[in-house]
Symmetry: C2
Subunit: 315 residues, 2 copies
Amino acid sequence: MTADAGPDPLPSWREGSIKRRLLAFVAAVCTPGDPAWVAPQERIAVFDNDGTLWSEQPMYVQLAFALQRVRCLVAERAELAHHPLVAAALADDIEALMGHGLEGLLELAAMTHAGMADAAFSALARAWLREARHPGLGVPYTGLVYQPMLELLALLRAREFRSWIVTGGGVEFVRVFAEETYGIPPERVIGSTLQLRYGEENGQPTVWREAVVDAINDGDAKPVGIARAIGRRPIAAFGNSDGDLAMLRWTTAGPGRRLGLLLHHDDDEREVAYDRASAFGRLDLGLELARRHGWSLVSLRRDWHRIFPTPLPQD
Amino acid sequence: MTADAGPDPLPSWREGSIKRRLLAFVAAVCTPGDPAWVAPQERIAVFDNDGTLWSEQPMYVQLAFALQRVRCLVAERAELAHHPLVAAALADDIEALMGHGLEGLLELAAMTHAGMADAAFSALARAWLREARHPGLGVPYTGLVYQPMLELLALLRAREFRSWIVTGGGVEFVRVFAEETYGIPPERVIGSTLQLRYGEENGQPTVWREAVVDAINDGDAKPVGIARAIGRRPIAAFGNSDGDLAMLRWTTAGPGRRLGLLLHHDDDEREVAYDRASAFGRLDLGLELARRHGWSLVSLRRDWHRIFPTPLPQD
């Protein structure tokens, strides 16, 4: 950074090699004349959401929403209580639910987030996010976004990057809060999808949500979803789990300067040290690939000065 | 428009009710305090491509590309010459090809635009568009964009609209020229798609195009594609054929001020008067829906002062 640089754009990142690398990457690709310079329209950055931009502990936030929705559903259709996913949800048996994998979670989402117009779903999810509180911490879920990542998003926005969320979560769920929370508009969210159907309902043209999983945006599907939606290969990718490795690999194998960054959830005091024992992957492969392909491994314990925007009970 | 308005932003549109309506709509939704004011992030406009932003006569431009590609394909795999679509293509029998409907055309696109990395396809299409000339007019196809629509896109851009292309054509094909030609970046193109597959090819992470049609973005699929990609209902929609009616209907049925516009290809001197006898629909339904829902019907003959950016032989 030059001597006349303004205030530190990443105050929640501790000084060290990771912060230096982030700032050097952004400076290089944004400086005309630098061999690494990239035209603004090619400055695409992609971010996983759960565990990368906000907390996924003790469970995915969308799963907490599904647990609430499932009770409404069973009140209307009691016979569903015998469905194994519904039974596990009613018993708050998170371990059993996670045992069904991302596919099972999305199946539960399909059952509980469908059978309505897309606008009706967005309104439901918005209302829930406003009212719901994290069970252990008593704060709204949108208070559990990672402050260092918010600063990174703001820095990239200021340097004419376009940042996208590429999530295994449901695209319509994430869109409900992404603009207000991250400054990322709905059209820059790529996620898992239910089938949609267009038709007239009571004379009103409507896009209707069917209770059928259409696409699971995880693993190899992430680069495919990016190619489909963006039509350009990103130059920077940020993730935290096995589901993000293909996206990181594809991004960082492109020509020119690239940045790959993998969050390592190793802070048991201020968050949860869990990524060596995650339900969907142990990150051992991620650590190996990070070494092999030169991705930055961010230790929450070591590299983040603070984790959440406002202090939490455990902070 | 106020008295201190600058130069006419739509010089290729003849004075009249259509031009007044376009300007009044843009002024109203962009004027703070106007009851019709719309926040910039909600100013979404969607445009069909073939026949709406550029000429689709005597055939879709992408079909002309497929006719060239099919010869390369048969040179490598002679047995394909017996496939009915390929045989019709080799015979330049456009009528027979159109008889297979959009589904058949996309099948031909799948056969001829796949089996390669997405980046390789883009390079092929870009090279073809640079070299190819319209058979009757001898100009590059990108010279056959509609000047009045370019002015409309520029006006909307200046007023903080985000304009999207929503095409039945292949998304990757349209992306190759949309940014340079229309000022619409790749991520704002929604189109028909082939299946994509991610994997390593010779140690390089690659998004590969499979010869399988994934989704046909026409008719009812257009509102679904918009909901999926944008996550917001547009406030203005522009089309010219049966395939655009659901998009126009969904757009204009939303709350607040809306604009729907249907191009009527009725100019046999400067273009081709064809839309009462189009291969994929006669527009009779469109004319009826335009009356019923208050869409503007643009007569190329009456409402456009000029059609193409530079004069053509028939201009």
